[in-house]
């Protein structure tokens, strides 16, 4: 029996009858993936205009990127900000997730929703609000201000992931540890945390991506020497299409993919569902 005649589901619909679905599915997936990836080969085109496939291969635009002080400073700012955001967001999100999960107060649900609001409020509104506040506090164009804003933006994602991890964890283990003589804190550190560590790490990695990719708030509150790579890219895009951006994009795709795959691998070794 060739593959097309084999049943695709328990209701005995064959693969052959589903062929149209498979073709459409693959086409849409291609629509999703190709633009994301097409930048990569295009960035290696040596000519002045980006072409696919490049007539001449070269690293001209990478040289442009790595030799430019502005671009490299901006990249470094983004990486540092993302790094600090992870350090700030992860423990705060973990504490909040655990505290809300365990405290059993009815208000816990309300507080949880409140902590998710940074994801729900239109980002531009947050951006101008923070900009307005930072102007008065002289926090614009500072790393502290940037990290603070990004941490709040990353919090909901980390909170959701870590809370999900707690929900699928058996709280009885912590109770047993306490019955055996461990205080709440000790039980959490020695028994619970090692077992939810995959959710915590995933939350941390997502916080990194949120900060690294963030454009709008950075557009307002970071500038000059403190400009993030995304801000600089956006401004450059509005003026003209600088092919250097293709090489920057490729580097960003690389960084994001690595972080994302890390999160996938770590997430999969704990659960079976992604």
């Amino acid at each position: 029996m060739n593959w097309l005649q084999r049943p695709a589901s328990d209701t005995q619909i064959t693969h052959g009858r589903r062929l149209w679905l498979y073709i459409i599915g693959v086409l849409i997936l291609a629509f999703l993936i190709i633009p994301t990836l097409i930048v990569i080969p295009m960035s290696f085109s040596q000519s002045q205009y980006l072409e696919f496939p490049p007539r001449v291969w070269g690293v001209r635009w990478y040289e442009n990127y790595f030799n430019s002080i502005e671009w490299m400073t901006a990249t470094w700012v983004s990486i540092k900000a993302a790094f600090w955001t992870v350090l700030v967001t992860t423990p705060i999100a973990t504490m909040a997730a655990y505290g809300l999960y365990v405290s059993n107060i009815r208000a816990a649900r309300f507080i949880f929703v409140l902590l998710i609001t940074p994801m729900m409020v239109p980002v531009v509104l947050i951006a101008i609000g923070v900009f307005f506040a930072y102007t008065r506090l002289s926090l614009n164009n500072t790393m502290v201000g940037l990290v603070l804003a990004h941490s709040v933006l990353a919090l909901p994602m980390a909170l959701i992931v870590i809370s999900a991890g707690l929900r699928s964890y058996d709280m009885n283990q912590e109770r047993v540890a306490r019955s055996l003589g461990a205080s709440r804190l000790k039980a959490f550190l020695v028994v619970t945390l090692p077992q939810i560590r995959f959710s915590v790490v995933t939350g941390a990695l997502l916080a990194f991506i949120v900060s690294f990719d963030e454009v709008i708030v950075a557009l307002f509150i970071s500038g000059g020497d403190m400009s993030t790579i995304t801000r600089s890219m956006f401004l450059a895009l509005r003026d003209q299409i600088d092919p250097t951006i293709a090489s920057i994009s490729t580097v960003m795709i690389l960084i994001t993919t690595v972080v994302f795959l890390l999160a996938q691998v770590l997430g999969k070794s704990k659960n079976r569902e992604s």
């Binding site: 058996d170 109770r175 047993v176 306490r178 003589g181």
Partner: protein
Amino acid sequence: MGQENALPISIRGVTKTYGEVFALDDVDLDIHSGEFLTLLGPSGSGKTTLLMVLAGFTRPDSGSVSFGDQEVVRMPPHKRDVGMVFQNYALFPHMNVAANIGFPLKLRGIPKDEIRSQVENALTVVQLEGYGDRGVEQLSGGQMQRVALARAIVFKPRILLMDEPLSALDKKLRERMQIELRHLHEQLGMTTVYVTHDQREALTMSDRIAVINDGRLMQLDKPRAIYDHPANPFVANFIGESTLLPVEQHNGVATWDGVPLKLSERDHGVGPLLMLRPERLVFMPKGDDPHFNRFNGTVTEVVYQGESFLVYVRLSGGEEVAVRSVSQHRSLEAAPDIGDSIVLGLHRDETVLVSEA
């Protein structure tokens, strides 16, 4: 059973409400030092809540709990020094068997060599010598149960709490473990509080049973006493099978069908309900026997159940009772047919009255 390795437990006026619902309603209970006491009841009866109060995971609204002389109701769980076994074992998956068992010892600052030898001892007690190096995922259900047990007793607690530890095991294994747990209790001597909804299990293992329903203590007594003399209809129905027949009172004497009931000289209970247990009813031959109470009826159903069979009889007043007989060749042959008129007999010593509530 040594007194040094066990503590009595005193529970006074413990109440726990969740909104309008009373999970525990003013419970008073005294557990003797070193005894094996079972908290028996249906789901939602409050038995697990009471256990959690003893462990310190549930804080009651009011009341007092003492271990020996010490008031513990306000003490956090990690200071109570009780061993606990949960229904789903809750073994730490990121530690191997030895690390799991050694965990409480490590917390108490016991040196490493001491820990190793005590862990080995504990493994021997639960008959799992040499399993120390295994990972938790390599164990069967029964083995996990033993490791959980070893972990709970390794630090020699004087009270052991168990929350339906055998309910996840299959029947044969469960029955074997019941006997083993009983032996373990006799060997170690600690006060054990055991929670289950399985009345057979309670009857098998306990020194005393506390029957709990709706957050209240229904009866506290030895297994045989509870079975023979239930204090109220709930206990009568929950433990074993029974049919409760209302009986009339004429001049303070209980009568059935106009005839006064013959009762035992010893304790026969008081109350308006007569308890009929299927295995205590017999088929009466013709003639009058001074020791038996008689009930007339018609056979409605005969059900073969393997080791025993049931005969359902509708009595003259319309009530239905069941008679259980052991499936031996003779009794099977003599079994009545559907529609037969029949007389059932209950020996005076087995005639028990149950009060309303």
